[in-house]
Amino acid sequence: MSAPVEFSRRVFLKSGAVAAIAMTAGGVRMTAYASEDTEDAFAGWVEIRPDNTVHILFPSTEMGQGSETGLPQILADELDADWEQVSIHQLNEDDRRFGNPAFGKILYTAGSSAIYGYYSVLRHAGATLREMVRESAANEWSVDSASLDTRESRVIHPESGRSMSYGEVVGLAGFAETSLPAPAVLKSPEHYTLIGRSVPRRDIPAKSTGKARYAMDVRVPGMLYATVQRSPVEGETVTALDDKKTRATRDVIDVVALPDGVAVIAKTLHASLAGRERLEIGWSNTSRFRNFSSADTIDAYQKAAEGDAPGAAWRSEGDARAGLAAAKRTFDAVYTSDYAYHAQLEPIAAVAAVEADGKGAEIWVGTQTQSWSTRTATEVLGTTPDRIKLNMMTMGGGFGRRTELMQNYLRDALLCSKAAKRPVKVVWTRPDDLKFGAFRPAVAQQLRAGIDEDGRLAAWHHRVATPSVIEYFNPIRWDQVKPKDIVTMRGAENQFYDIPDFLAEHVKTERQARILPWRGIGASYTSFAAEAFIDEIATAVGIDALDFRRSVMHKNPRGTALIDRVEMMTKAVPVSEGRARGFAFAGYGYTQAAGIVEISLNRDSGAIQVHHVWIAVDAGQIVSPNNALNQIEGGVLWGVSSALFERVTITNGEVDQENFYNYAILRHNMAPQVEVHLAENHEKPTQIGEAGNPLIAPAVANAFFALTNRRIRHLPLTPDRVLGALA
C-alpha cells in the first residue's frame, strides 16, 4: 500500500462528500473519502493496481472475530471487485483517518463494533471508486456511464459486448481526470454479491496448519526473552533484591528493574523462567490492596447497592421512585457476581526492538488498539509516533484483555529492549496472566420493580454497585465520558422493554482489584440480574415468562419476533426427563437476542449441566452468516462457561487462582448443543461478537429455578452455591 504518490486531487461530490484520488506508480488509490458531511479524510482504503489486483485496508485488529475478512468484504461488494483478486492489508499505525467511527476515530477493536462502526464508510468508499471506474470507462468508450455494468473487477458495456478490467481502466491516460458527476449510489440489497454471503475467512487456512503467527510466535534476529516477577499485591514495590543465583543461571543475560517488578532477560524462555525462580525479592508491605479480599469486596458493594446514595444515572425515563410508590405490587432482589478472568488462550507476549538512541522502536504486539499501543510506546520512550514501527499481530483471543491505554506488557518489552540493547520478547506465563491479570469487576446489584393493574412492568430501578472500569483502564476516555461508564453499565439500559418509569444508575464503588472490559462488558452481569429478576416477578404474578416480556414489548416487533422464533424452535422438542428449561431475553448494544437453555442437575455434586441452547438473534444485516453463527455459538459457550464455573477470588490482595486447574473454563465434553437463528433483514448491522453470552447466565438461573424451585442470585452458579440453595 505504499507506492509513491505521483498525483492527487480532491473530487467534490454533489452530496457534499469528498473523495480524493491518488495516482500512484502502481495504480489508483482512494486516498481520501469522507461521507456524512464530515471533513475527515482517509488515506489508502483501497487501491486498484494495473495488474487488476485490489488491495483493501483492514483497519481493525483480528482476535478471532473474523472482521479481517468481513470488513474488506463490505468494501469489495460495493466496488464490485473480484474477491479472488482482493488482498487484505493490516493497518499497522495509529492513523486516525481510518479510526473506528464507533469510538470517536480511535483505532480500537472492541465492543463488537467493527462491522457496525465501519459499515457505512466502507460501502461509500467502495461505491465511490466503482463509480469513478465506470465513468472513466464511459469516457474512454464515449458511451453513457449508465449503460455500463460492473462485475468482478470488470466494466462491461452489454450493448457492444466490450469490457475492460479495473486494472485496465486505472491505466487509462484520462483516469485521473475523471469527473464524478453524481454522488455514488449505494447498492440496494438485491445487488449484494458479497454482503450476506458466507465468504470463507481468509485467516482460517493458516490457523489450520500452524502457520498463523501470533505475538507469542514472533522471532527476530538477536532476540532475547524476558519474564517478569511482579508484586503479588498491586501497589507494592521492590525493597530488596538478591539476583546472584539468577545471574549465575545458564543463559541469563541481565536482571532489570521495571516499574512494577523485576525482569529476567535470557537467551531462552527456559533460562528466563529458571532465573526468575531464583530471584530473591523483598516487597514493601504498605499497599492498600492488602486489605481487600473478594468476599468482603462483594459485601461492601452490596451495602452500596442497597443504600440510598444516588448513583450516576445511566438511563432514566419518567420517575422510577414515584412509579414504584404508585405500583400495585413491588418486588426487590439483590444480585451479585464474582470477578472473572479473560482466559484468552494466548497468554500475553510483546516484542520490542528499541533503536540505539532509545527513541525509536519496532514493536510486535497483539492488541485491540493501534492507537493505545502506539501511545504506550511513545509515552515509554518519550518519543513521537513516527519513530514507532508497529506490527499488529493476530491475537490468540482478545475478549477485552488487550485494550488498556497503558499496556504494561508492551511497556516492559520496550524497557527490557532498551536495557539489553537487543530485541526482547516479554512473555507472560499462564499463572502470570491470571495472578497479575485484570478482571471483570465484582458487582452487586439492587433491583426494584413495580407492576401495574394489568400485571405489566411499570417501574424499574436498577442500582449497579461496582467501580468504574473506564476510569481505571483508560483515564483519558474517562475524562470524556464520565460519569457514564458504558463498560460497567452496558445492558442495564434495558432499552428493549417499554417500562414507563425507569432508572438504571451506577453506584461507583472503590476499586479493589485490577479490572478490564470482559466479553459482554456490563451486560455479562446486568442482564443476569435483570433477566433473572424478571423471571422472579413473572413467577410471582403467575404469568408465562415469555408472555411477561411480550407485555412490555409492544413497541418492539423485532424483539417479539425473536421470542416467537425461539419458542417455535423449542416447541417441537420435548423436555428430557429430569431436566428443565429457562428463558432470557438480552443482547448487546443494538442487537437483541432471545434464548432458551435446557439443564440438568447432579444433586449430589451440585454440578449443573447445560445440554441444549436455542437462540434467536437480530443483528440487522449479517455480512458473513457462517462467521456470525460461529461468533454466536462461541458467545453462547462463553456464557455457559462463565455462568457455571468462572470465579476469581482474592485474599488480602492476592489472586488465589493461577492456572486452568483452579480457574476452570468449559471443556468439550460439557459443551451444549447450540442452535442459532439469525434474523434476516437489511437493517443497519449491529453487534455480533458479544450478543451470544449475556442471556445465558440468567437463562441458566431461570432453568435452575424451574428445576428446583430455588433461586441462586450469585454468579457463577457453582456447585457450592447450588448445594447451598438446595439445603
Binding site: M63, G64, Q65, G66, S198, P200, R201, D203, I204, P205, A206, K207, S208, T209, G210, K211, R213, Y214, M216, D217, R219, D251, T268, L269, H270, A271, A274, Q344, L345, E346, P347, T394, M395, G396, G397, G398, F399, V427, T429, R430, P431, N626, N627, N630, Q631, E633, G634, G635, L637, W638, S641, N659, F660, Y661, L666, R667, H668, N669, A671, Q673
Partner: protein, 152 residues
C-alpha cells in the same frame, strides 16, 4: 547431546536437557505452530505426537524425548492437506486459532486409534484441549467429516 526424530528427520542438540520440548521446538527450530497455553497440561495447545500418540510438549524435557519420534502440526501433512485440516477449513472451525494446532493434533491421534469415533468419544477424547472462543461443536463436525473422508 540429545537426538530425536522430528517430523521424520533426525535432530541433534546441545541444549539444556531440562529445556521443555515445547520451547525447543518454538525457539530453536522456529516451529511455532505448537503453542504455549498453560504450561501445566491443562489446555492442550502444545499437543504433539510422541511415537504417534498425543502428548503435551509443555511437560516433556528434551531428555525425555531422546531417541524417540515426535510429530508436530508442521509435520502432520506435506501441504497442510491432512483430512482434518481440510475439514477444519470446510467447517470454518477456527476463530482466534491459537488452540487449533493442538486440537488438530489431538484429533489426528484419536482417528489413528479410532477411525470412526462416536460423537461422545470425540468429545471425551478432545476434552484435554481447551478452546476459549467456543468452537467445540464445529470441531466435532470437522472430526466427523474427516473420519468419513478417511474411511471412504
Amino acid at each position: 547431546m540429545i537426538s530425536f526424530v522430528l517430523n521424520g528427520e533426525r535432530v541433534e542438540t546441545e541444549a539444556d536437557p531440562d529445556t521443555l520440548l515445547l520451547f525447543f521446538l518454538r525457539e530453536e527450530l522456529g516451529l511455532t505452530g505448537t503453542k504455549y497455553g498453560c504450561g501445566a497440561a491443562m489446555c492442550g495447545a502444545c499437543m504433539v505426537h510422541l511415537e504417534g500418540g498425543p502428548a503435551f510438549s509443555c511437560q516433556m524435557p528434551l531428555a525425555a524425548v531422546a531417541g524417540r519420534s515426535i510429530t508436530t502440526i508442521e509435520g502432520l501433512s506435506d501441504q497442510g492437506d491432512h483430512p482434518l485440516q481440510k475439514a477444519w477449513i470446510e467447517e470454518q472451525v477456527p476463530q482466534c486459532g491459537y488452540c487449533q494446532s493442538g486440537q488438530i493434533m489431538r484429533a489426528a491421534a484419536l482417528l489413528d486409534s479410532n477411525p470412526s469415533p462416536s460423537e461422545e468419544e470425540i468429545r471425551s477424547s478432545m476434552s484435554t484441549n481447551l478452546c476459549r472462543c467456543g468452537t467445540y461443536n464445529r470441531i466435532v463436525k470437522a472430526v466427523q467429516r474427516a473420519a468419513s473422508e478417511m474411511s471412504s
